[in-house]
Symmetry: C2
Subunit: 306 residues, 2 copies
């Protein structure tokens, strides 16, 4: 615990985030951000309270979220703060999920890339997950038909009963292609893709003209070394004049206040449901990322510190 | 030769177009337009002179281009006319190429999808072709570094000497990956893709953040049945927040007058070079499409009628 120097804060973390992107961050394969070297603190979002501040914008007692790493006490530059957390009526953990990286990612993907219109069909993979469940609900509120793809009957049930999808299909069930075809009688206008891999290969042949595919995650690909192959996408994109675009949270960060305001209003009105998967203590961390790829969590995974 | 009824024109064709997309049109695999059934007139752009008109907007002697099919005399609805050809100082055949489908496709791809900025690197496959050569020249005029990929030393030479690419690499030469890497020291901001396949697989790992990939053609894929596989693109798109988008000429047709005006001005000023590959007579038609895929033409292929 190092006291803050000029421009720094000392933050005591309440919750740490566990995100699929972390597997990429600890890989030494080129990525959108620098790899985390062995021996360093794991890069992570966290939410906590300022204990000491040498930065004029923050005072002890302020609650903030940002890239503070997997640690109980973080001495960080004030620039590591993503935002001040002012939703005192809601759990601070939400700033790591539905009001944070995952919720805002869903909001960004729809608002900035997919822009679904009422009446369009929106398909979501890992549909019951922290990003997917928000995508499905926001798309439904935009007047879209929403179809979730999830792994196993429990997640399919969650999609239908908790997250309000119009239809949901189980990608672990063999007739996925047929199930999906039946669920999208008018084709697919937006595919919010959190998996890539064989699941996406089933969706691509069903896209409509001018479809938008948001590439948000690749959860179905356990390794990119060796680089996996799959059916080529070029002809689908060409013959449908469709678009496939990668979504990175940080590219859209300037709209975070807008996203959080919109999402918090929906949460307070009971119109945006979310699940949290809370693990206790730093000692739960090492296996927590791998568990995401095993699909064992229902909802946004966070680590609660005592 | 059927006389025109109300709303129709009788056009005598001067030039017929031969385009890579035609292979798709005569395939019975689902595509962006209806297949041409066996026994029908081949769908095609053509340019010619109105011989008789029962449509108020056209008079005998007018030169028009449109979807008139591979035939000497076409009795067509006035709606088949794409535009009136007013560039009397230029060969009418240009309305099938640099001032038509291919030139406008290049212009649309850059103006509507890629929007390259000065200083960016633009890579083009089939770089010496009818679309590619226009892309390269327009991108150079926008202040970009242009890198062409072409098949064989003669086309590479054309890229450098005639179409002004800053660099050109031969995809038939074994060290394509190394040659391309050397040609794009700052990575790839725009990839105008006319081939798909192994050529594109070499480009994708070199894209920069926010890269734009215009999917304009799949000339390197000789058949989509069975559907070919290749390295998955999702991770490239995700980690670079890049975009891959299909380009269909007809989706941008409303901007054709603007495109033709811009391209014609460049042609007249000697600032846009083009090649034509002129075959004589309808009897040359059947093998003309296959020849495109054998890469035997240098420039836009058209058929001249006597």
């Amino acid at each position: 615990m190092r006291p803050p120097e000029a421009g720094e804060l000392l933050v005591r973390a309440e919750f740490l985030s566990v995100d699929p992107a972390m597997r990429g961050w600890v890989s030494d394969v080129a990525n959108y951000s620098e790899p985390v070297p062995v021996g360093d603190v794991m890069r992570s979002f966290a939410v906590g309270t300022v204990v000491a501040s040498a930065a004029p914008a923050y005072r002890p007692g302020d609650r903030v979220t940002g890239l503070f790493g997997w640690q109980e006490y973080a001495t960080v530059d004030a620039g590591a703060v993503l935002r001040r957390v002012d939703e005192d009526d809601l759990s601070p953990s939400l700033s790591l999920g539905v009001l944070g990286l995952t919720g805002a990612t869903a909001w960004f993907g729809l608002s900035e890339i997919a822009r679904p219109a009422a009446g369009e069909t929106v398909v979501v993979s890992t549909a019951a997950g922290a990003v997917g469940s928000v995508v499905g609900q926001l798309a439904a509120q935009a007047g879209c038909r929403t179809v979730g793809i999830a792994g196993g009957p429990e997640k399919v049930r969650l999609c239908l009963e908790e997250f309000g999808y119009d239809a949901a299909v189980d990608h672990r069930s063999p007739p996925l292609a047929a199930d999906l075809a039946a669920a999208v009688p008018d084709g697919v206008d937006v595919y919010f893709d959190n998996t890539a891999g064989p699941i996406s290969d089933t969706v691509l042949p069903r896209i409509n003209r001018r479809a938008r595919i948001v590439v948000c995650g690749t959860a179905a690909i356990s390794s990119w070394d060796p680089w996996p192959t799959g059916p080529r996408v070029e002809r689908h994109l060409l013959t449908k004049a469709a678009r496939m675009e990668g979504l990175l949270f940080f590219d859209h960060q300037h709209r975070l206040p807008e996203a959080v305001a919109a999402l918090a209003e929906l949460v307070r009105g009971g119109r945006l449901r979310y699940r949290e998967d809370v693990l206790d203590g730093l000692e739960a961390a090492p296996d927590a990322i791998a568990g995401l790829y095993r699909g064992e969590n229902l909802g946004k995974r966070v680590i609660r510190l005592a």
